[in-house]
């Protein structure tokens, strides 16, 4: 692909802290390479802001290779920007043209309060995982993985669900700020495997109870979450979650 440079106008959400009202500030950036990642463009802008003795823009990032789930920008009306199946860190500037205006906002949901600028507090996801998003394993030597037979189709579905990196784009995209795609990926990942079987019922009930407690909305099957998910987690997982939940609630004694 041809290399080119571009001048851009950025409209970025700035907010000093949790209690600040916040607002958009416009920045002009020059000579941005088409080969930069979106976050590298922010690095360049932040270097300049530091030189000008201004507060740099705070944003979440860690691995910068699309697997950690830390980056979380809502770019031009879409979580993680215009590319499908891509995290913000893997979005490259060749997605934009010279002269473009780019609006960058934090994830918006009551359950994801803004900490600073583009960083939101996603510990609500951690608490959902703590409620049941794991399997209980005795300590000791690792069990030989191949000793437990698993149906190929189930292993594939479980693996696809396990690809969820918990970035929260599903919540950011959903009109109801629903965390169902995230929870359904975690529930499906474990419910499809024999290791998840013993705690299958309590897991789904506890995780949904925690999800509701955190104030996420309900699912209306619009599919916006699936469309923006950088790991392309399928909406089918939500239907599986519904099935698991209904089954578990009916079968639970009291």
């Amino acid at each position: 692909m041809e290399h080119y440079t571009m001048n851009l106008t950025l409209k970025v959400w700035r907010q000093k802290n949790k209690n600040d009202r916040g607002g958009f500030i416009t920045y002009k950036v020059k000579d941005i390479s088409s080969e930069m990642s979106f976050l590298e463009m922010f690095d360049v802008l932040n270097e300049r802001l530091i030189e000008e003795s201004e507060e740099p823009i705070a944003f979440d990032h860690d691995c910068r290779e699309g697997i950690c789930g830390m980056c979380s920008m809502y770019i031009n009306g879409r979580p993680h920007g215009p590319w499908e199946g891509t995290t913000t860190c893997q979005l490259h500037m060749r997605a934009f043209k010279d002269g473009d205006t780019i609006v960058v906002e934090p994830w918006r949901a009551n359950s994801f309060p803004v900490i600073k600028d583009l960083i939101v507090d996603r510990t609500s996801f951690d608490r959902i995982i703590q409620a049941g998003g794991f399997i209980s394993v005795n300590t000791g030597n690792a069990v030989d993985g191949n000793s437990i037979p698993i149906e190929k189709a189930k292993a594939d579905d479980s693996f696809a669900a396990a690809a969820c990196i918990g970035c929260g784009a599903c919540v950011a995209a959903c009109k109801n700020s629903s965390a169902m795609l995230f929870v359904s990926a975690k529930v499906s990942h474990l419910a499809l495997l024999p290791q998840g079987e013993p705690e299958k019922k309590t897991r789904v009930l506890n995780m949904i109870a925690q999800m509701d407690k955190e104030g996420f909305g309900g699912c209306t099957n619009t599919g916006a979450c699936e469309a923006v998910c950088p790991k392309e987690i399928s909406l089918d997982n939500i239907a599986r979650l519904n099935q698991e939940f209904i089954g578990a609630s009916v079968k639970t004694g009291k």
Binding site: F24, G77, V143, N176, Q195, G218
Partner: protein, 253 residues
């Protein structure tokens, strides 16, 4: 992938939980379940209603239609089911509005640039609005036909004209009432057609969404249910819309 899962913990750490009926139906999935089940129940009603409507195309000046309407209005079992139907409407409408308010309140600060149609269809995001349009239509529709048919003669409500076939018992001439409502009344016909269009889009999302809420994820059945839902939404709405159109354009008399 290794079958060892990502999180290593001591034995069975997930605490057991109580799940009473109250817990189930106040949980986010339980609330959706109420919407889905009541929606599917109302869908079965639409089939019956469209079937009775289709009797006008027997071209017998409404005889078959009036007999069918009489059966629906005078049979004890049907009248008992009718109470269930009103309950179904009530639950679906109230729960729908409650969920709409709850879901809207989950994002106090909105986005500067809206997502719009990036990733979802407008009608799937507008079920509350479409439902409200259908509700307004429903109120008008009940006033037009259900009220005179069931409550005619009470208070100041004008009863329907009687008609009898082959010297049989007198029954309501609902057909004549329909001709009176729709003939030469373009505004009413247009409102009915708009009601049917709202219904079509509501069903286009609602039909398949109800099955998803019930847990359908088998890829052999998902496309089947989506296709059936789309066909159902279009066919039922067109059959409904054709009724005022047929009368207005005098295809039936």
């Amino acid at each position: 992938m290794s079958v060892r899962a990502l999180f290593l913990c001591p034995n069975l750490q997930i605490s057991s939980t109580t799940m009473t009926w109250k817990h189930i139906f106040t949980s986010s999935i339980g609330k959706k379940l109420v919407m889905g089940l009541s929606g599917l129940f109302l869908i079965t009603f639409l089939i019956i209603h469209a079937g009775v409507n289709a009797c006008i195309w027997a071209f017998d000046h409404g005889e078959m239609f009036n007999k069918a309407a009489h059966f629906m209005g005078s049979t004890v079992v049907v009248r008992i089911i009718e109470i269930g139907l009103f309950a179904g409407f009530f639950v679906h409408i109230i729960q729908g509005y409650v969920l709409e308010v709850q879901n809207r309140s989950t994002r106090k600060i909105g986005y500067e640039v809206k997502m719009g149609n990036k990733g979802s269809k407008w009608y799937s995001r507008s079920m509350g609005l479409l439902g409200t349009l259908i509700l307004l239509f429903l109120i008008l529709h009940i006033y037009h036909f259900w009220t005179p048919s069931r409550l005619g003669g009470l208070w100041n409500i004008k009863p329907l004209q009687p008609v009898s076939y082959e010297g049989g018992k007198e029954i309501h001439n609902l057909y004549a009432e329909m001709i009176a409502v729709f003939s030469d009344n373009l505004l009413v016909v247009v409102i009915y057609i708009l009601g049917c269009i709202s219904l079509a889009f509501h069903l286009l999302h609602g039909f398949q969404s109800a099955f998803r809420t019930l847990g359908l994820h088998n890829q052999k059945f998902v496309p089947l249910v989506k296709g059936t839902g789309a066909a159902f939404a279009i066919i039922v709405s067109v059959v409904f819309a054709l009724m005022p159109i047929s009368i207005y354009l005098k295809w039936v008399d």
